[in-house]
């Protein structure tokens, strides 16, 4: 620029110096907090059941159980995290899991063998997700309403298909996903891990992930930057549906059956886990690692109640309290990051309003 323009420059930018890496600092801090909580839960385990938690072999097998039980809800939470970062919500995940599990275990589907079952589960989940996406992006329904309707309808369809009967799965390949192990780790846990890793890559290393954050953060800005918001939103719900299909296979493997009662309240558990992990209900913010921790924390709490023979009613109360605490802590953390700005305004600068 020319010298004449420089002369008129007041450079007020120079005084704006709040901490510069608010975002990254925030997420590191949150991850550390979540890890500490998980560690604390293990300590609680060690105190209450030292026979399990202080014996390496038993601890290992106990934690594999925790991970196995976390697999289905974990996979769903990854899909939910994408939807929520994109500014939406998917209430139909539990029902879609049930529907996919029922559809893929009908006698007709099983007659197509292992590929038939796997294809049916994934296709039903994805297909229903696409319907959600179409209703929301092209039908302009509010995500809450569209997926609520899908939740009710899919559960009903699952009931109709199965006649409210549990359908035994006779495809041994699928059943072995839960019973079989590789390097001592159940296949379903491996599937969970793969979904987490792929989810992380998708969110952090691809244009898809970036667009998701952009749409959830500011849909209008994304649209005016030339991003096809509708198509992307559709893809997000399809992705969530696909995750439900994968989770359905995991549940079928674990129970060697499909049932219309599967995945009860999974939508709320997945949302809770994502929120604990720092995903914003308003969109634009959230991490895969955070959601993973959210799932593990809930799963570990459930395990602690089980090994201590405590009633599940109490567990639900604790879970509720945890959600409230997690959100309060997050708000506190945000507040702390605003403090320097306050101190800065006190020193004679004008507040923004």
């Amino acid at each position: 620029m020319t010298a004449s323009t420089r002369a008129t420059t007041a450079e007020p930018e120079a005084v704006r110096e709040p901490d510069r890496r608010v975002v990254s600092l925030d997420s590191v801090k949150r991850t550390a907090t979540l890890a500490a909580v998980l560690l604390a839960l293990l300590v609680v385990g060690a105190v209450t059941r030292p026979d399990i938690f202080l014996d390496p072999a038993k601890l290992w097998s106990n934690e594999l159980t925790v991970l196995s039980l976390a697999s289905a809800i974990g996979v769903i939470t990854i899909g939910m995290t994408f939807v929520m970062i994109g500014g939406g919500i998917d209430l139909s995940v539990g029902a879609l899991l049930a529907l996919a599990s029922v559809w893929c275990t009908t006698v007709a589907t099983q007659s197509f063998g292992v590929t038939g079952v796997i294809f049916a589960a994934l296709a039903v989940g994805t297909g229903a997700g696409i319907v959600n996406g179409l209703l929301i992006s092209y039908g302009r329904l509010v995500p809450f309403i569209a997926t609520l309707a899908m939740m009710v309808a899919a559960r009903g369809l699952a009931q109709k298909i199965s006649g409210s009967q549990t359908q035994i799965n006779r495809i041994s390949f699928v059943n072995e996903l839960a019973s079989g192990k590789i390097l001592g780790i159940p296949y379903i846990v491996v599937i969970f891990a793969v979904v987490v890793v792929l989810g992380w890559i998708l969110l952090n290393r691809t244009t898809f992930g970036r667009r998701t954050v952009a749409i959830g953060g500011n849909a209008e800005a994304a649209r005016l930057a030339g991003i096809n918001v509708k198509r992307h939103t559709l893809a997000l719900y399809a992705l969530s549906g696909l995750c439900c299909g994968i989770a359905a296979l995991i549940v079928v493997a674990q129970t060697t059956s499909g049932s219309n009662t599967n995945g009860d309240l999974y939508e709320l558990n997945a949302i809770a886990a994502a929120i604990i992990g720092g995903t914003a209900l308003t969109g634009g913010r959230g991490t895969i690692v955070g959601s993973l921790f959210g799932v593990l924390i809930f799963s570990q709490i459930a395990n602690l109640f089980t090994v201590n023979n405590l009633p599940t009613e109490t567990q639900r109360i604790v879970n509720g309290a945890i959600i409230v605490c997690a959100v309060l802590v997050q708000q506190l953390q945000m507040g702390r990051f605003r403090l320097p700005a306050f101190a800065w305004t006190r020193r004679g600068r004008t507040p923004a309003t």
Binding site: M1, T2, S4, T5, R6, T8, T9, A10, E11, P12, E13, A14, R16, P18, R20, R21, V22, V23, R205, T206, T207, F208, R210, R211, V213, A214, G217, N218, E220, A221, A222, R223, L224, A225, G226, I227, N228, G284, R285, R349, T350, A352, T353
Partner: protein, 506 residues
């Protein structure tokens, strides 16, 4: 006999970070008068209203209301004291009935139940008083036409026993016949001793309804208590212009205006603008001067495909653009810096580089996987080019000043090989220094053969920056000329009244 002075402001100052919106404003309003506030966009009118209505608290200065020095801590406090503001976006609740809106917050009650009959009768009384007994008190406000809503809003002020009503561009939403209606209501109010502060850009209205005029310029009062009927237009316009800050505009280069890049043919949108035709050539800066509400932002957004046109079409390089499709516009080489940066353009919590590459992500990705290094390098190059301060591209955009945020928005389109840039109020909320830099940058873009279509309510900006100027008023292009052939007064006249010139539309 001179009526008593109900409101007196002296030396009112209000600053926001980076800008002194009010810098010693004085105002004197008498009971029963219509006192007009005149000033260009950004002169401080809105801030002044907000100070008066308790939204903002002044940093310094004195407000004397009915003989007492006051400092309103909230809009509610101002309302209680008898100052009611009728905003441009009426703050009525669409879902409630007229009577409920009139009574809101002070519903007549017995044992906790609202006395609907009493409420309806009170509403009826107020509306009759305003000369509009025909407005149905039971109807939902949302279904009423704009003019009726305005009457309800005034009725609400009246039922609060307001002694001063502030009206911010009340005629902007009204059709011509309704304006006369409004004026009749205003005259009735003032006859009852109620004072009115009236803000409008339309000089003819001020002539008709106003008693005295106070002119604001750059946050100061440049003239007080002029006679609304007799002060010559030249004088008013002169008081509004003649900036205290002179901007340095970059030199124009005679660009070869041969190839039309953008052609707009008969573009129109119901209620916003109609039959707009214009063209932008390679390397040319075309500026549109017009007031808020003249349809200029809507026009720009329609050209960009963010709104669907009712009539007409947009051609780039002679090929029609798919209507209402931002993606198609971007692929054809268009880019836009919208009017409201924060709401329409930026991801405030995301780092600068992600905001810069948002519109051209594909360029930095291999089969969908982003190449972080290439992306950051490109963003850094843009930041260097634009002299972004601070130059750190990892910093969240929200920590940047307005001017630097705008650089990020414009920078986004420098990456993608944009050939036509649409700029809507590019310097709103941008401090003086950064303004000059933005002007330089826009000119440099044009010199590199990018076409620029620019909208601004600041006439000097349009004149200083553009090669060619189009004047827009009430949804129509009413004049166009090379920038050298126009001066500020002429354009302001055209923008406000369209009186100087009849005919010669584009």
């Amino acid at each position: 006999m001179t009526p008593e002075v109900v409101l007196r402001l002296t030396g009112v100052v209000k600053s926001f970070p980076g800008v002194r919106a009010l810098d010693g404003v004085g105002l004197e309003v008498r009971a029963g008068e219509v006192h007009c506030l005149l000033g260009q966009n950004g002169a401080g009118k809105s801030t002044l209203i907000k100070v008066l209505s308790g939204v903002h608290r002044p940093d310094a200065g004195e407000i004397v209301w009915q003989g007492e020095q006051v400092s309103f801590t909230s809009p509610h406090a101002a309302l209680k004291a008898g100052i009611a503001t009728i905003y441009q976006e009426l703050d009525l609740i669409d879902e409630l009935s007229v009577a409920e809106n009139l009574a809101i917050g002070q519903e007549p009650r017995r044992l906790g139940f609202v006395r609907r009959g009493v409420m309806r009768r009170a509403a009826q009384r107020v509306l009759s008083q305003l000369g509009h007994p025909e407005i149905p008190v039971g109807a939902e406000v949302g279904v009423l036409p704009a003019a009726a809503k305005q009457i309800v809003s005034m009725g609400r002020a009246l039922s609060r026993r307001a002694k001063l009503m502030i009206m911010d561009e009340p005629t902007a939403v009204l059709a011509h016949g309704e304006v006369q209606n409004l004026f009749r209501v205003i005259r009735d109010l003032t006859a009852d001793g109620i004072a009115v502060i009236y803000i409008s850009h339309r000089l003819e209205e001020i002539r008709e309804i106003g008693d005295r005029v106070t002119v604001l310029r750059d946050g100061r009062t440049s003239a007080v208590n002029l006679d609304a009927k007799t002060t010559p237009t030249r004088e008013l316009v002169r008081r509004m212009t003649g900036r205290s800050i002179e901007y340095v505009f970059p030199e124009r280069h005679a660009a070869p205006h041969t190839e039309p890049l953008l052609a707009v043919e008969g573009l129109g949108r119901q209620g916003e603008f109609s039959d707009v035709s214009l063209s932008v050539h390679k390397g040319e800066i075309v500026g549109i001067a017009g007031l808020v509400g003249s349809g200029r932002s809507e026009l720009l957004e329609t050209v960009y495909g963010a709104r669907r046109p009712d009539t007409g079409r947009v051609l780039v390089d002679g090929r029609p653009l798919h209507p209402a499709d931002v993606g198609a516009a971007v692929r054809a080489g268009l880019g836009m810096a919208p009017e409201e940066r924060k709401r329409q353009a930026l991801l405030m919590g995301e780092p600068v580089y992600r905001n810069i590459t948002l519109a051209s992500l594909r360029r930095f990705a291999t089969v969908g996987f982003t190449r972080a290094g290439a992306e950051r390098a490109a963003a850094t190059r843009i930041a260097d080019d634009l002299e972004l301060r601070p130059r750190d591209v990892h910093r969240p955009v929200r920590t940047l000043s307005g001017g630097n945020q705008q650089k990020v928005v414009v920078g986004r389109w420098l990456l993608g090989g944009t050939r036509l840039l649409l700029l809507d109020e590019p310097t709103r909320g941008v401090d003086v220094g950064a303004r000059a830099e933005l002007y330089q940058m826009i000119r440099r873009l044009a010199d590199s053969d990018v076409g620029v279509l620019l909208v601004s309510s600041e006439v000097p900006e349009v004149l200083g920056l553009s090669d060619r100027v189009l004047v827009m008023r009430e949804g129509r292009l009413i004049h166009q000329a090379p920038a050298e052939e126009l001066d500020e007064d002429t354009v302001l006249d055209l923008v406000m009244a369209g009186s100087l010139l009849e005919g010669s539309p584009t």
